[in-house]
Amino acid sequence: MAFTAFAGGASAPAVEPAARRRSPIALFLLLPGIFYLVLFFVTPLISLVITSLQEPDPLIFGQYVNAFNWQNYVSVMEQYWSHALRSAGYAALATLFALLIGFPLAYFIGITLRPYPLVQSLALVLVIAPFFISFLLRTLAWKQIFSVEGPVAGILSSLGALPPGATITGTTFSVIFGLTYNFIPFMVLPIYATLVSLDLRLLEASNDLYGSPATTFRTVTLPLSAAGVMSGTLLTFIPAAGDYINASREFLGATDTAMIGNVIEANFLVLQNFPAAAALSLILMAFILVLVAAYVKRSGTEDLL
């Protein structure tokens, strides 16, 4: 449940559920949506599998024909293994930084601000506020702040911390910075959702039993918010691993910061090498599915939504 708390999932108090009935109405309610998901989620994945196995048309240049050319997977991995590793590494670091910034923030909103409900709801609005302004413009704002004419570069170079000619944008630092910034709300919201319902008497009890703040945090707060931390980690890692805005040259990246998303985009939309793009997409999807499977194994499917 905590996984989707950012969609407003865990806010309403649950009442005793009505016994679930069997009825033909269920089919009427389910079928249109399920049909939509099959048509526009399952079949596209099958399309990707078919495309990923295609080979170039021997007659028409730039066209592909259906085949069973599984070497596509080998060749994209040979060509792009560094991009795949970079994606995993960047996304993992961005997730770690988002956790370091996001957990205290979620704790602050969910526990410290609990006596002030109005301030608490305003603080929550501030966390989701970045969602209401264009993702691309926010990222470009950082690019301008970090640019050569911008305030940060000016301060750093006057301190001598930035060698002449060096830039902040177009580096590993700026890409990870952008990823961290853009996905922090995805970390804060699920952790907040678990902390906001944490029974404060448990913290008092630990304190009464001479638990130091550190012990209380380690043995009470952290285990009780573990579900939120796990959801937040997945929710941050998944979009970060597939992102190609932050790492693109027009934004915070450079050619040597390209991630797997950039390669998929370039192969599909620029080079029109559809089989390579499809194979890379499926490799990324498989990697994400392993993570999701581990998550499902821990929390079960009933708690997914």
């Binding site: 407003g8 009442v15 923030l105 209401f132 302004i133 999807m285 997914l304």
Partner: protein
């Protein structure tokens, strides 16, 4: 937590909020920049951009496309998603786990995979890419979020109210429209707003499926290479203030309602 720890978490959190808000402040501030061609360096304050929004070439057309796509995808996703949410909470059916997984997976799939998959499918089926395919794609990724949002509302609904309606000889249709639907409405509205926000700001899936049609984010992406006109900042800022106003009104009215219920 007391003493030093308390001050530390206040200071740390305020710094985190400032960090979150810096690019927003920057974007809004540069909507007032007296920029000639590119909007990179501060040239002085002006309100002109706000009055001549549509003068930057193509920006209003892109904005219009995004509104159209957002509205269409929101209506489709909210309708389909609400139906699924009710079925998930209220009814027993076969393949429950498979259904849950099918709803969950699109949210866990990287956008670039969803975008490439749909584009590959449209390519194979020979469907020309454009606003229509973008609407289909946006409906897909909004659908799961609608299910989650409305579902939490259905779970909190007291079934005794509907039973009371049935006991008073209301037909199933009357029970739905007079009792269930009004009680679900806050959840449905929240889901619709979320869908619209997701659709309006989506770039990655859109970029794979838009063909030659331009949405507001894809306009910004293309313009990024040569410099964003201040008019784009104006539109983004206006949308931002409108969204914040809506959220604040919703929060405050919910707070008032809670207080009124508590005082009864």
């Amino acid at each position: 937590m007391k003493g030093f720890g308390k001050y530390a978490i206040w200071a740390y959190s305020i710094m985190a909020f400032v960090f979150l808000l810096i690019p927003i402040a920057y974007t809004v501030a540069f909507s007032f920049n007296d920029s000639r061609r590119t909007n990179i360096i501060w040239n002085g304050f002006t309100l002109d951009n706000w009055f001549t929004v549509c003068e930057a070439q193509g920006v209003c057309e892109a904005f219009g496309n995004s509104l159209l796509i957002g509205l269409a995808a929101t209506v489709l996703a909210t309708t389909l998603g609400t139906m699924i949410a009710i079925a998930l909470v209220r009814y027993r059916f076969k393949f429950r786990n498979a259904t849950t997984l099918l709803i969950f997976l699109p949210m866990a799939t990287p956008e670039v995979v969803l975008g490439a998959g749909l584009a590959a499918q449209f390519l194979q089926a020979g469907v020309p890419k454009g606003i229509g395919t973008v609407i289909l794609a946006h409906t897909l990724f909004c659908l799961s979020f609608v299910v989650v949002t409305v579902r939490s509302r259905v779970v909190s609904l007291n079934p005794a109210l509907e039973e009371a309606g049935r006991d008073l000889y209301a037909s199933p249709v009357q029970v739905f429209w007079r009792i269930t639907f009004p009680m679900l409405l806050p959840g449905i509205v929240a889901a619709a707003l979320l869908s619209f926000a997701l659709s309006f700001d989506d770039f990655i899936i859109t970029n794979f499926n838009r063909g030659a049609d331009v949405t507001f984010p894809s306009y910004i992406y293309t313009a990024a290479a040569r410099g964003i006109p201040a008019e784009a900042n104006v539109i983004a800022s206006a949308v931002f203030f409108l969204a914040i106003a809506l959220v604040l009104i919703a929060q405050i009215s919910a707070g008032i309602r809670r207080r009124r219920l508590a005082s009864v």
